[in-house]
Amino acid sequence: MAGNFWQSSHFQQWVLDPPELFKNRQADLNVLTEDGYQKIMIFFANFIQSLGEQLKLRQQVIATATIYFKRFYSRNSLKCIDPWLMAPTCVFLASKVEEFGVISNTRLISTCQAVVKNKFSHAHPLEYPYRINLVLECEFYLLEMMDCCLVLYHPYRPLTEYFKELQQDESLFPLAWRIVNDSLRTDVCLTYPPYLISLACLHIACVIQQKDLRQWLAECNVDMDKILEISRQILALYELWKSYDEKKEIAAILEKMPKPNTSPTPTSAQDGSQQSQSVQ
C-alpha cells in the first residue's frame, strides 16, 4: 500500500511547526530543562526499541510506534499519561496498523515486564506496573489525540530509492540507515517530511565517509537549508551522546518528570526512585 505522501494526513496534519512544538512543551519545560526533556524522549525511544526487538518487530513498526509516541507528547504534557504506559500502547497499535498482527495481551505485558526487569531496572527498579486493560484504554486516547491519522511515511523507503540512484559504495547504505534510526531520537520526524530526513542522513553518512554529495544534492533541487537544519539536529544528538551516560543519569531526570496525579502506586514509585538514587 503506497499512497501519496503529499495527500496524506502525515503531510497535511503532522508536519509540525517547531515554534508550535516548543510552545506545546512549555508546561513540561517549566519543570524540566530542555536537555532533560530531550533525554526523557530519547530514553522512551530506547524503551520502545527494546520492546520492539524483544517482540521481533520489523524496524518500520518500531519507527511507527516511536513516532506515535512523539506525536502524543507533542500535544500533551508528560503528566497526561505515564510514558511507561504510552510506550507499549504505541507498540501495540503500530503492530496492528503496519499489518504485523495483533500482539497477544499476555505477550505484550510479559515483554514489558521482562524488558523493564532485564534492561531498564536502573530507571524503573520496581516491577512493570501496568496491565492490559490500561493499555487498551490508553489506545483510545492515543487514537483520539492523533485524530486517527495512522499511516506514517518513514525515511527508509526514500533512502533506498536515493541510494539506488546514487550508485555509491555499499557500505554507505547501512550507515545512512542507522542515522535514520538515530533521527527518531530527535524532533526531526515531527517537523520535516521523511524524504528530506533521508537526504540529510545520506548527507551525514557521506561526510563521515568523506564522500562529496554536494553536486548530487544540488541537482536534487531540494531546500538545502532544511537539509542542513535536519543534519544539525542529528549532529547535536551525537554531541549530546558523547557526554551523556543514560544508565547513570536517567533515574534522576525521570524523578523530576511531571507525573499523573493518580499514579497507580504513587508512594512505592517514589520510594523506588529514591532507592535508586541512594544506590548511586
Partner: protein, 323 residues
C-alpha cells in the same frame, strides 16, 4: 462562542454530537450505519459506529484497516471518508467513547436498485456502472489493496449516478508473493454468493482476482436482477460454479490440486462451461457476454484483471458513447 476559536486548528477528533442521527440505514461488517446530518452545515453523511467486539484486540484491526485505507485512497469511485468522530467519554459509557466513521451520504446501493422492479437499466447505464466499478477497482488494485467483499450491497450510487465502492471492513493491503514465501491471508472473506473458486478451495495466497470474480457476479446481476449463484453452503456454491463455469479440473486450472481443500470437497465432474449459453437469454450484447466469460474464469491466473477489462471492447464502446 469566540470568533478566534475558528482559526485554531485542533487535531483532535471531533465530537460526534456535531451530527444529528436521522435513522439507521444498515449494518456494516463491524458496526451499525446511520444516516445523519451535520448540525451546522446541514450536509448529509453516513455514520458508521465502530463496534468493539473482541475486547482483547483493542481497537479492531479491521476498523484500523478501513480507516487507513480510506484516508489513503481518495478516488471518485471510492466512498469518501469525511472524518472520524467520537462520542464524549462519560461515566455512562465507563469513560470509553465510541468512534464513528463519517462518510459522504449516498442515496442508493446497487442491491436496492436491482431489487426495485421500477428501476430499469439500459445497456449504456449498465456500461457506465461497470466502467466505474472497474475504475475504482483498478485504483485499489494498483495501490495494492484488495476489497475482499465485493457484492451489490457494497456498491453505492449517488443521486447523480456516481458509483462509490464502500465497506472496506474486510479490505487489506497485499503484496505479490514470491515463490518460497507464499502469503497466508485468511480465506474467510467475501460473501458466499460472490466468493471465487480459489477461496472456496482454501487458497490463502490470493490476489486481485478475487475481486474480479465479484465483478463478474455483479455485472451479470445487472441483467438477471438477482444474484446468479445463491449457494447454501460452500460445497453447494462450488457446485453452482461448476454448473455455470464448467467442472473444476486440473485441465482448466493447472495447480488446482495444490489447494488445501482439493480432494477434501466433492466436485462435480463432466460439467460443460455454459457461461455464455446460460446468460445469453438475459444479456444480448456480445461484448458484454464475452467480458462476463473472461471475468467468471475459474483459474484466477487467467481471469481478466481490472486494467485489461477497462480496455475490453465492452468498456471501449462506452468511451465512444460518452464523447
Amino acid at each position: 462562542m469566540q470568533r478566534e476559536d475558528h482559526n485554531i486548528h485542533y487535531p483532535f477528533c471531533q465530537d460526534s454530537s456535531k451530527y444529528e442521527k436521522l435513522c439507521k440505514i444498515g449494518q456494516g461488517t463491524f458496526g451499525e450505519v446511520f444516516k445523519a446530518r451535520d448540525r451546522n452545515t446541514k450536509r448529509l453523511v453516513a455514520m458508521k459506529k465502530i463496534l468493539m467486539e473482541n475486547e482483547k484486540e483493542g481497537f479492531p484491526i479491521t476498523a484500523l484497516r478501513e480507516i487507513k485505507i480510506l484516508q489513503l485512497l481518495k478516488h471518485d469511485n471510492v466512498l469518501n471518508l469525511v472524518e472520524i468522530c467520537r462520542s464524549k467519554a462519560t461515566p455512562y459509557n465507563r469513560y470509553k467513547s465510541t468512534f464513528y466513521m463519517i462518510s459522504d451520504f449516498c442515496e442508493h446501493d446497487l442491491a436496492g436498485l436491482l431489487s426495485n422492479t421500477n428501476v430499469k437499466f439500459n445497456l449504456g447505464e449498465i456500461k457506465k456502472i461497470v466502467q466505474q466499478l472497474l475504475n475504482g477497482l483498478y485504483f485499489l488494485h494498483s495501490n495494492k489493496i484488495l476489497h475482499r467483499d465485493m457484492k451489490a450491497a457494497n456498491i453505492l450510487i449517488t443521486k447523480n449516478g456516481v458509483l462509490k465502492l464502500a465497506d472496506f471492513g474486510l479490505a487489506r493491503s497485499f503484496s505479490l508473493s514470491n515463490k518460497g514465501n507464499p502469503n497466508r491471508y485468511t480465506n474467510r472473506v467475501v460473501t458466499l454468493w460472490y466468493r471465487p473458486p480459489e477461496l472456496l478451495l482454501g487458497e490463502r495466497d490470493y490476489g486481485p482476482g478475487i475481486d474480479m470474480w465479484g465483478v463478474g457476479c455483479i455485472m451479470a446481476e445487472m441483467w438477471t436482477r438477482t444474484p446468479i449463484m445463491q449457494g447454501r453452503t460452500e460445497q453447494h456454491q462450488l457446485q453452482l460454479i461448476s454448473q455455470l463455469c464448467g467442472s473444476i479440473t486440473k485441465e482448466v486450472w493447472p495447480n488446482v490440486e495444490k489447494l488445501p481443500l482439493w480432494g477434501k470437497i466433492d466436485l462435480i465432474s463432466g460439467q460443460r462451461r455454459k457461461v455464455k449459453d446460460r446468460l445469453n437469454c438475459y444479456v444480448k450484447d456480445q461484448y458484454a457476454l464475452e467480458m462476463l466469460d473472461r471475468l467468471l474464469t475459474i483459474d484466477p491466473t487467467k481471469r481478466i484483471d481490472a486494467d485489461t477489462a477497462l480496455n475490453h471492447d465492452f468498456s471501449g464502446l462506452i468511451q465512444c458513447q460518452s464523447i
